[in-house]
Amino acid sequence: MASYKLNINSKEYTIEAEPQTPLLWAIRDEVGLTGTKYGCGIAQCGACTVHLNGNPVRSCSLPVSAIVGQSITTIEGLSEDNSHPVQKAWLDVQAPQCGYCQSGQIMSASALLEKNPSPSDEDIDQAMSGNVCRCGTYHRIRKAIHLASKEISNESK
């Protein structure tokens, strides 16, 4: 067991953990932020996606010892009041069904739009194909990303 300082959603947390503990379980069970989900544990489904220094990563496959000192954003840190353009678009098109994959979907989509505010359908395929949705909301997610992209470009005008 060692002590780790984690910077999550601009707050610092100190946790006790084994060095190889996946970041996912540290976030969920030690820090208590349960919006980040477990789906496969092997970087295949994207349910555990968080931002590490702004990039989407699979927290199930990153040992907690490897990320010390870096900045992590989870779904809870995306906005205070559901006002992130991606969250708004998601609600507009009523994208989630069971909702379990959606934290990961939203984190992948927000990272995509951060880098590429007007993604093409091919860009969306590329950025989002690591996120499985068993309920089959892909169609609405695509719509929501285009919608959020519009809102972002309107904002920056």
């Binding site: 030690e30 919006g35 989630p96 892909y138 695509r142």
Partner: protein, 727 residues
């Protein structure tokens, strides 16, 4: 900030229909008045106001709370049932706060499955809402000294007709709650509906875009321990040895114990490793070196299953439906020269449910024999079952055992089996500590129970005098007869989605049960998912033999079924079916009735630079009266993706009795880049009774796809799954 395991608070989410999600923090444990017993606080305890019936509470300031009493797994029922009540109650959705109920018999049956919720609860919930409205009106009428017929209701206020007098529900609730609910209240006319039939936003989605929605796997409570279970690869083998000490040598591991889960009468043994963290539990599990006696099951393989089923297909089987005389129409083995007979064989594999949220459970059996359960279940009323194991009499079960209903990260039928709760209960009962059990994805995929495999022998016959015959012979295991003999009867579930309405002269539908040890279970649309593929593909084969357009063929042969015809006509129009496609394009159609609804899909395929893609799916749904059209559309979109995954991705295959596919790398899911970009769902408007919505969109997708493949490539796909890039 220091993360402190002990100061975690649980949140009850109360969601207002306007979409505002307000989180009330509370500790699950508060001391009761005598300070000696622990009282578990459940959502019901925090509702403000006077309860008129178990579902509806109104506060004196007019807040209306309606309970969401059945589990929400993505189908929108969290809002769906309260919306039905609110409609008849005469309030707007903005006035309503929906609260997730806990498990209790006062709500009646709380289990979900079979696309049954709206179908079975539409009338009872309307009656309940209307009866509640009527006692409020009675209370107002009494106060005014007029007859109830002189009152009318609008948006939570009772008005005296022809005057300015008005009394809001909040002023009436105290006296209304004392009145008896009328047994036969007057229901609204469909034309007066303000909520039912309109697309409303789901309040539970707010928590699903900000991470606050509470799923079973998110349950938190003080002193929580984590468990994982090592399982027998052949499911039912017996354990011969394992190294508990090695597992316990992992720091944080507290206990190693055997547990069982009941799967259709069989007890499957597992070895639970319990630890302070989930990571420690999984590390301990790796050190168990468990050995199993699999001898009895080592012969089971997908090859042997396929051979056995093909053999059974040659038998006569049990009669399910006979019209005319198929054998005669076919002639004796098709010997007569003017008879054309064609037979095709179809096969579908075992598949897994793969809910995004893997199976899990959280249970706390306390020293004083009270229990708190977080039940990620489609069938959460587990109180009596657990009470019996603790020696608690049935009439105290609900008082001593409290069950939370978290949101479910998918269900698809899998969560109607409470095996993970059964396992977790055993662990917590032994330790008297709160325990969260999480199945790994590998456990979830390999351990079943699975969707059944099936084999179909399809035969058509044509005579020179235009006599047409069709025989569908189904071979499959059955769900309801896994642990008992079927006694020569066709089990009720196995014939779903076989359309005997087709106007053929001779129709014969027969069944042979194939039994083996692989457990099977309800999987989205169940036998609809396996029967419709051969049936609707073969209808296409018939149309091809007769050189008729497949959609027109269906229209002619279903002409005595007006609902089918209307759906087909709408699909024809909306999909521009009759427009000629390009050379590298293909289209396919299928129409299936299941779970009380009729759904038709048209699938469009395209080959470009050697790659086949599916740009478009057009669907028409006739589910009678619906509550929220947007949710009917969403469920149909979901059914399309779920069905395409089963058609195009991986099967669960068995070797030496063990499932070979374990995680999403080998058991792959359809992803964004493969999903149709354009999905159009059209709903039929009519006054038919509500049909199912959660499943009926699934059965027609695989045959519509396979029929499109035939149109594109001339290849008839008769075995699922197949690779779209290899056609």
């Amino acid at each position: 900030m220091k993360a402190n395991k002990l100061n975690r608070r649980r949140f009850l989410q109360v969601s207002g229909m306007a979409g505002a999600m307000l989180a009330v923090g509370f500790d699950s444990l508060a001391f009761g008045s005598d300070k000696s017993t622990l009282k578990m606080i459940m959502p019901e305890d925090l509702i403000n106001g006077i309860q008129i019936n178990p579902y509806v509470t109104i506060s004196e300031s007019g807040e209306v709370t309606i309970m969401a009493h059945v589990p929400e797994l993505g189908q929108g029922i969290f809002q769906g049932i309260p919306a039905i009540i609110a409609e008849e109650l005469g309030v707007t959705m903005e006035q309503v706060t929906i609260v997730k109920a806990s498990a209790s018999r006062k709500y009646g049956r709380q289990s979900i499955g079979g696309s049954r919720s709206v179908r079975s609860m539409f009338m009872p919930m309307r009656q309940l809402g209307a009866a509640t409205r009527e006692v409020l009106v009675q209370a107002a009428a009494k106060q005014w000294g007029v007859d109830a017929s002189n009152c009318e209701v609008k948006e939570g206020v009772v008005y005296k007709k022809g005057s300015k007098d008005a009394l809001p529900y909040g002023d009436l609730v105290a006296s209304a709650a004392k009145l008896e609910l009328p047994k036969k209240p007057t229901l609204k006319n469909k034309a007066d509906f303000n909520i039912i039939g309109k697309a409303t936003h789901r309040p539970d989605l707010v928590g699903k875009v900000n991470g606050s929605a509470d799923y079973g796997i998110d349950a938190q409570t003080e002193g929580l321990l984590y468990a994982t279970i090592e399982r027998c690869p052949t499911l039912q083998g017996t354990v011969t040895s394992y190294d508990a000490d090695a597992a316990k040598s992992v720091k944080g591991v507290i206990e190693v114990m055997e547990v069982t889960r009941t799967v259709y009468g069989k007890k499957n043994t597992g070895i639970a490793v319990v630890a302070e963290t989930y990571y420690a539990a999984t590390e301990g599990r790796k050190k168990l070196s468990a050995e199993w006696d699999n001898a009895e099951f080592s012969q089971i393989s997908t090859e042997s299953i396929n051979t056995d089923m093909a053999q059974l297909a040659q038998e006569k089987g049990l009669e399910h439906f006979e019209k005319g005389d198929f054998e005669a129409s076919k002639g004796q083995r098709g010997a007569s020269s003017d008879i054309k007979v064609k037979t095709s064989h179809y096969r579908l594999p075992h598949v897994a449910h793969s809910c995004m949220e893997p199976m899990n459970a959280t249970v706390h059996v306390r020293e004083d024999n009270t229990v708190e359960v977080w039940a990620p279940s489609q069938s959460p009323q587990v109180q009596r079952q657990f009470a019996r194991q603790l020696g608690i009499p049935d009439n105290q079960a609900e008082e001593k055992i409290k069950v939370h209903l978290p949101f479910l990260g998918g269900g698809f039928g899998r969560r109607s089996m409470n095996d993970s709760l059964e396992e977790c209960f055993q662990i917590s009962k032994a330790l008297r500590k709160p325990v969260k059990l999480i199945w790994s994805r590998e456990d979830d995929t390999t351990q079943g129970p699975f969707r059944q495999t099936s084999f179909h022998r399809m035969t058509m016959s044509f005579n020179s005098d235009n006599r047409i015959g069709l025989q569908h012979k189904v071979v499959s295991p059955a769900i309801t007869t896994q642990s008992r003999p079927s006694n020569g009867r066709v089990p009720f579930e196995v014939m779903e989605a076989i359309n005997t309405h087709y106007d053929f002269d001779d129709i014969s539908v027969r069944y042979s049960e194939y039994k083996n040890q692989i457990p099977i279970h309800w999987w989205r649309s169940v036998f609809g998912s396996t029967n419709a593929f051969p049936h609707e593909s073969f209808i296409d084969e018939m149309a091809f033999e007769l050189k008729v357009d497949p959609l027109q063929f269906r229209k002619t042969k279903l002409k005595s079924e007006p609902r089918f015809i209307k759906v087909l006509e709408k699909l024809e129009e909306q999909s521009n079916w009759n427009e000629k496609l390009g050379e590298n394009e293909g289209k396919g159609v299928a129409i299936v009735e299941s779970f009380g609804s009729i759904v038709a899909h048209a699938v469009f395929l395209k080959r470009e630079n050697g790659k086949v893609s599916m740009p478009k799916v057009v669907s028409v749904v006739d589910c009678g009266i619906y509550v929220n059209p947007d949710q009917v559309i969403a469920q149909t979109e979901g059914n399309i993706i779920y069905g395409l995954t089963a058609a195009l991705k991986d099967a669960i295959t068995f070797k030496n009795g063990a499932a070979q596919e374990a995680n999403f790398d080998t058991y792959r899911m359809l992803r964004m880049n493969e999903a149709p970009r354009d999905i159009q769902v059209h709903l039929m408007e009519n006054n038919e009774a509500p049909g199912g919505v959660g499943e009926p969109g699934l059965p027609p997708i695989a045959p519509a796809l396979a029929n499109a493949v035939f149109d594109l490539s001339g290849k008839r796909m008769r075995i699922l799954p197949f690779d779209l890039q290899k056609i």
